[in-house]
């Protein structure tokens, strides 16, 4: 039986709990077969948005449309959406088989169709032979796979996943991530995924929606979000550290290269759009993109010197905290060996510097 593929989902949610507005005109369009991740810190509203799409929580205002049909006026059990929960929510008093067949039985499918479908999804998640076990007898990873199988069995047109990997340990999380990615590739099922883990979002998604306090901060492909964060929050959330705000002191004759300075720290950048003297520019650079320099540099701009204050050995690299001469603290990740109290010079490659737009 073929599962209908949807064309697009239009989401427009305003949700209030009492006086508190958790989502304010949250607008998103999800295309068919897309894997979209809602990414943000705890309490930002991403789970609420997911629950609204599922129908477990009603909208205060707005609408949800699938291919032009209103979804938000239908009760959740009639929406044909599959959902995977953070704590799996398997029915403890039913076997794996019964758990997975639950949705199919409610669809009143004939017995042999149910049986073959259950076998089908079990092999999809690589748990053949587990039909007669009870959830209590399964490990965390196995339970998660049963939960996924259960959600997929009734052939939903949309799959929602609410932080499904948070309860797993680190190694298992990596394995399950690969499995989810694989499943999406195989089935092409439109999916909306919720997480606070940026690595998960980057690895799994076609598009990421970064949310903070109910407001969408940026929507884009993983590469875009990672390399060009549109504001301070996104940059910070995606792992950028070492934020600076510098002022444009001079512009060179080519009109593009600007000289920025603050507290004895000098940078020469060419990628600032329409630089003006006196502008304050916020920028950041990732710890791994900062280089430790040993020989003398011709151009003192884009370098800074300081003293090493903390060194943490991380295996393939060192996490180095440097106390710069201009009293700023900088975090550098480098495989180079340094010791506490060492004097070092750091080079900030202008191509690796990320501009953080205001707002």
């Amino acid at each position: 039986m073929e599962r209908p593929t949807i064309g697009s989902i239009e989401i427009q949610i305003t949700k209030r709990f009492g006086r508190k507005t958790v989502l304010d005109n949250f607008t998103l369009e999800v295309k068919g077969r897309e894997f979209v991740t809602l990414l943000g810190p705890s309490g930002c509203g991403k789970t609420t948005a997911l629950n609204c799409v599922a129908g477990l929580v009603p909208l205060s205002e707005g609408k949800i449309l699938i291919d032009g049909d209103r979804l938000d006026t239908t009760p959740p059990e009639k929406r044909g959406i599959g959902m995977v929960f953070q704590n799996y929510a398997l029915f403890p008093h039913m076997t794996v088989f019964k758990n997975i067949s639950f949705g199919l039985e409610l669809q009143k499918r004939p017995g042999d169709e149910i049986k073959s479908r259950v076998e089908e999804v079990l092999s999809l998640v690589r748990l053949q032979g587990f039909e007669d076990r009870f959830p209590g007898q399964l490990s965390g990873g196995q339970q998660q796979r049963v939960a996924i199988a259960r959600a997929l069995a009734p052939r939903p047109k949309l799959l929602l996943l609410d932080e499904p990997l948070s309860n797993l340990d680190a190694k298992l999380r990596l394995d399950m991530r690969a499995e989810i990615k694989n499943l999406h590739r195989e089935l092409g099922l439109t999916s909306i995924y919720v997480t606070h883990d940026q690595t998960e979002a980057l690895s799994l998604s076609d598009r990421i929606v970064v949310i903070n306090e109910g407001v969408i901060q940026q929507v884009g492909a993983p590469k875009e979000i990672y390399e060009s964060p549109s504001n301070l929050f996104v940059a910070d959330f995606m792992g950028c550290e070492n934020f600076f705000t510098l002022r444009v002191k001079a512009i060179e004759s080519d009109g593009k290269t600007a000289l920025l300075e603050q507290d004895g720290f000098q940078l020469k950048l060419s990628n600032i759009p329409q630089p003006k003297i006196g502008d304050d520019i916020t920028l950041t650079i990732r710890p791994d993109d900062i280089q430790i320099v040993h020989s003398a540099i011709k151009d003192p701009s884009n370098t800074a010197s300081g003293t090493v204050s903390v060194v943490q050995y991380l295996g393939k690299e060192n996490d180095i905290e440097v106390f710069l001469d201009n009293k700023r603290k900088i975090r550098v990740k480098s495989p180079e060996r340094v010791e506490r109290e060492d004097r070092i010079t750091l080079y900030f490659n202008p191509e690796k510097i990320i501009l953080v737009p205001k707002g």
Partner: protein
């Protein structure tokens, strides 16, 4: 005296006290039992002659079959309706938060905390005014007043244990509310229903004040009859009264045996940490 010795002394004192209490309790209970089998007994450690006549006597004079019937009907009625009414209420308390929930909880706590004599007298007065006083129905209705909140407070934690996401996932899979109740909720809180039912049963059988105030001559439970028998013990031989007491004891203790299979003793007492 070092710490260990002092601790052991405390333990010793503790065990002695408990032992003393248990011994006295045994004495109290077995005295009744022995007396019920005595032909006659006066100031001797044990009666000289034993007999089972008193059981036959009390069977006839106290109309035991009828009393047992009344007790059974009342108990069954209170358990059935108590569970029926408290079950959905417990669900709401476990699952929903709403303004005024705490005040509502206090209201539900009142019939348990306020002594039965205090509200029993107005209750009985009302029943007699509306002409239902004195019937088995009135005994059932009266006992339900404290037992419904009691059932709610026992069942609520059982519901709280069932994760909400289980109901949500069932909904997403297409189950209507009724189906969720049928296939998920009911099976998962069966143990809770069992515990609540058994505890209500014991409490109802042992209930004195409420049953006493609203009953009539034909609707007296075992305890009430026992009371009247003791009260009028001048007119009835104490051995016969004790025989009835033994029957009551056997009933309660067999129920306890069943209950203790499923419920730890500490859970039978009103839990402080629930408040």
């Amino acid at each position: 005296m070092n710490v260990v010795t002092r601790k052991n002394l405390w333990l010793l004192a503790f065990y002695m006290f408990i032992l003393g209490f248990v011994v006295i309790m045994f004495g109290v209970i077995s005295h009744v039992a022995v007396s019920s089998f005595a032909k006659s007994w006066f100031a001797t450690p044990l009666p000289h002659k034993f007999t089972t006549d008193w059981y036959v006597y009390s069977y006839k004079t106290f109309q035991l079959p009828h009393i047992m019937y009344v007790t059974l009907v009342v108990a069954a009625g209170v358990v059935f309706f108590g569970l029926l009414i408290s079950f959905p209420a417990a669900y709401v308390f476990a699952r929903r938060d709403f303004p005024g929930k705490n005040y509502l909880m206090i209201l539900y706590l009142l019939p348990i905390l306020v002594p039965q004599m205090t509200y029993g007298i107005p209750l009985a007065t009302t029943f007699f005014k509306y002409k239902i006083g004195g019937s088995i129905i009135s005994v059932i209705l009266a006992n339900l007043v404290p037992m419904i909140p009691f059932g709610i407070f026992i069942l609520t934690p059982f519901f709280e244990q069932i994760d909400r996401s289980m109901e949500s996932s069932a909904r997403m899979l297409g189950a209507s509310r009724l189906k969720i109740f049928q296939k998920i909720l009911l099976p998962l809180c069966l143990p809770g229903i069992l515990v609540a039912g058994l505890l209500i049963l014991v409490e109802t059988i042992a209930n004195f004040e409420l049953s006493f105030l609203v009953c009539g001559t034909e609707s007296q439970t075992l305890v009430i009859n026992l009371y009247y028998a003791i009260f009028a013990s001048g007119m009835r031989p104490v051995y016969a009264v004790d025989a009835m007491a033994v029957i009551y004891m056997v009933l309660v203790m067999s129920l306890l045996l069943i209950i203790l299979r499923f419920v730890p003793p500490t859970q039978m007492v009103f839990r402080l940490d629930k408040r």
